[in-house]
């Protein structure tokens, strides 16, 4: 038996070698893809220099959170973009990863567990994966709408549990820890935010690379096939549930790592991290970034932090604005920001992007006018509802508005409607122009094919 195997394994490479000498007939594997090295090099460089460019403590906090959000959005996109699984409960796995990580951190602090703090996120990852092994089998039994509903159910289940078991979930106050503990090699305590940032950056880079690598493996490709056409997958020998299940576990692993990083970053974990709104945020921002391209969720993760940290400071109505953005994205650019970028790159590669600048400027300017008018009214409503005690006057972008005054309302409405009309004009012009360019590109592609 052994001899047979040895013989075949020796025979196969030689046969393959022969095949490669046949003139241009077979698939040739190119080990070095320079473009890819450059992209990954730039990504690493960006992660490394970002905190040197943005030096304030607020930006360090935000950069840390961005790394965490990038990992979790990418992991979510394994389900949504690559597997066609619309999950409403991804926070279960990142959240439980967070809890296990913070409990581990506390064990380290007590001295009963001798692992370095830098490895705590991996505990989060492993526990996320284990929970997925447990809960994922039921979840992935079905695809599409039933899948979405099961994830919703499991999300609710875990959320309810978080209120029932305060020993583990810490009740209202959550569970807190202290990351400055355990062995401190080379004097790295992770006390200062900048040290933690670099830990997060390393994890972000490695996780992103691993998740990208996953898309290039047999399972990764079959996951795309399951997304496209689960029925056919069954007729080429694959059990679709198993494909979904394994992918689900892997996605939960990375979600757990992000949860572990979050535990280290905030040093407190409350039951809010397993909640439905958190899952919803992952969905929303992964979608905004763009689920159809691998790098889309990276944009999504960055936007998530900007929205949560900056936008929420700027206005109380930030969730309303986010909802509007989401709405328009689903309607007009279902491929997210990533697809907008890629479509424009395509236009650029055919040398037609420059002529669109005027249209884009017009669109942006008129949209801004609409936003100005709409935002003024939204802010007045919010002011009336939340700050009634302060009187009807409010300042909006340096303009004094009177939430009870007809002038303010008519003014804002006028601005908005004017903007809307102008925007529609600009949009029509743009659509015509865009369509004409797309036609040109199609023709050009046909022409090049014919050559």
């Amino acid at each position: 038996m052994n001899a047979v195997i040895d013989e075949t394994s020796r025979a196969v490479p030689s046969a393959r070698g022969a095949a490669h000498h046949a003139p241009g007939h077979y698939y040739e594997f190119r080990p070095y893809n320079i473009g890819r090295w450059i992209v990954w090099g730039l990504f690493a460089l960006l992660l490394a220099v970002a905190p040197m460019v943005f030096t304030s403590s607020l930006s360090h906090t935000m950069l840390s959170q961005m790394g965490i959000a990038i990992v979790v959005c990418l992991s979510y996109n394994m389900l949504l973009g690559q597997g066609g699984m619309l999950s409403f409960g991804h926070a279960v796995y990142s959240g439980l990863g967070s809890f296990l990580a913070i409990h581990t951190l506390n064990l380290v602090s007590k001295g009963s567990l001798p692992i370095p703090v830098s490895l705590v996120p991996i505990v989060g990852g492993v526990s996320g994966a284990l929970f997925a092994v447990l809960l994922g089998w039921v979840t992935t039994k079905k695809a599409a709408t039933p899948f979405a509903m099961i994830t919703l159910g499991i999300g609710e289940l875990v959320w309810a549990m978080s209120l029932m078991f305060p020993e583990f979930f810490g009740g209202e106050g959550g569970v807190s820890g202290n990351r400055v503990t355990g062995s401190q090699p080379l004097g790295i305590t992770f006390g200062p935010q900048i040290q933690l940032y670099y830990l997060i950056a390393v994890y972000t880079f490695i996780c992103t690379a691993l998740m990208f690598a996953f898309t290039r493996t047999p399972l990764g490709r079959m996951l795309n096939a399951v997304r496209d056409n689960p029925e056919r997958v069954e007729f080429v020998g694959y059990d679709t549930q198993k494909v979904r299940y394994i992918a689900f576990i892997i996605a939960a692993f990375f979600a757990g790592i992000s949860g572990g990083l979050a535990a280290l970053n905030f040093e407190i974990v409350t039951s809010e991290v397993v909640s439905g709104p958190r899952s919803g945020a992952y969905l929303l921002f992964t979608f905004l970034g763009g689920a159809t391209f691998f790098f889309g969720p990276i944009i999504g993760g960055i936007l998530m932090v900007i929205a949560f940290v900056l936008l929420s400071e700027l206005t109380k109505a930030w969730l309303l604005y986010m909802g509007l953005v989401f709405l328009f994205m689903v309607m007009y650019a279902p491929g997210g920001i990533a697809s907008l970028i890629m479509m424009n790159l395509r236009v650029a590669s055919f040398g037609r992007l420059r002529e669109l600048w005027v249209s884009y400027l017009a669109l942006a300017f008129t949209a801004l006018i609409v936003l100005l008018g709409a935002a003024a009214m939204i802010e007045m409503v919010y002011h009336l509802k939340l700050n009634a005690a302060l009187g009807p006057e409010l300042k909006f972008l340096g303009i004094n508005l009177d939430a009870h005054g007809l002038n303010s309302w008519f003014g804002s409405a006028f601005v908005m409607l004017t903007g809307l009309g102008l925007f529609e004009l600009a949009r029509r012009h743009f659509v015509r122009h865009w369509g004409e360019i797309q036609e040109f590109i199609e023709k050009e592609i046909k022409r090049r094919e014919a050559l």
């Binding site: 195997i5 698939y27 047999p218 795309n224 997304r227 056409n229 056919r232 007729f235 080429v236």
Partner: protein, 285 residues
Amino acid sequence: MSAVVPGLAPADIERAATSPATTALTGSAPPYALELKDVRKSFGKTEIIRGASLAVNAGERVAVIGPNGAGKSTLFNLVSGRFAPTSGEVLLNGQRIDGKRPFEINRLGLSRSFQITNIFPKLSVFENLRCGVLWSLGYRYTFLKFLADLDDANERAEELLEMIKLDKKRDVLATNLTYAEQRALEIGITIAGGAGVILLDEPTAGMSKSETRRFIELIKEVTVGKTLLTVEHDMGVVFGLADKIAVVVYGEVIAFDRPDAVRSNQRVQEAYLGSHVADAQAGAR
């Protein structure tokens, strides 16, 4: 690299229709490549397949014909595992497969195509074919290897590309192919895993006459040495392609024989063929 699955050269993928193991089970006579014994299927109270029996030898090309609604596609669905039969037996190389899931049946060496094009629309042509190849080469659910390193799978997918004459469309998304090209890809995915028994459900559905003729040649080429069952409506094609014809009427196989024998079969003429045979004969003259 692929050392985990040694000896899986393309020649070995072709799961021989009669493997020693299955022959041993049934004694000296080699089992049929595909055998149906009194297969029945009811949906609710309606019995669609009413005791179909069929025995196909390895390497035979069988055309399954019959009027619309006779149950041809349902029969294929029962054999390929899309539905489980209500009663009866389906044997593949002597092994019971009725009630098994589609992927289990596929792994045992039976592959099918669909009447309505059933491909992976957002993957390229090459990726479509590679998806059809992966399981048969033993790569299963692995995520610890890069696709680019799987030389045998890539070579096999390239071979398939040339076989179905889509090598110029290698990196085009399947959804952007023409209808005829999608039908070819459908066949390509079906034969990709190297299954010994191939079921084609109306492979030429919706094609023009000339496309059909070319396509039948393609099917002949890519199924050399395999057991083939195909549903087909064009009688000219049927008599040109098939070694044997199975006539399905009202959920029963009322005749299964060589084309000329079927043509002169009284029961077939009465039940169904009549005018078609006259057409075909007129066309032949």
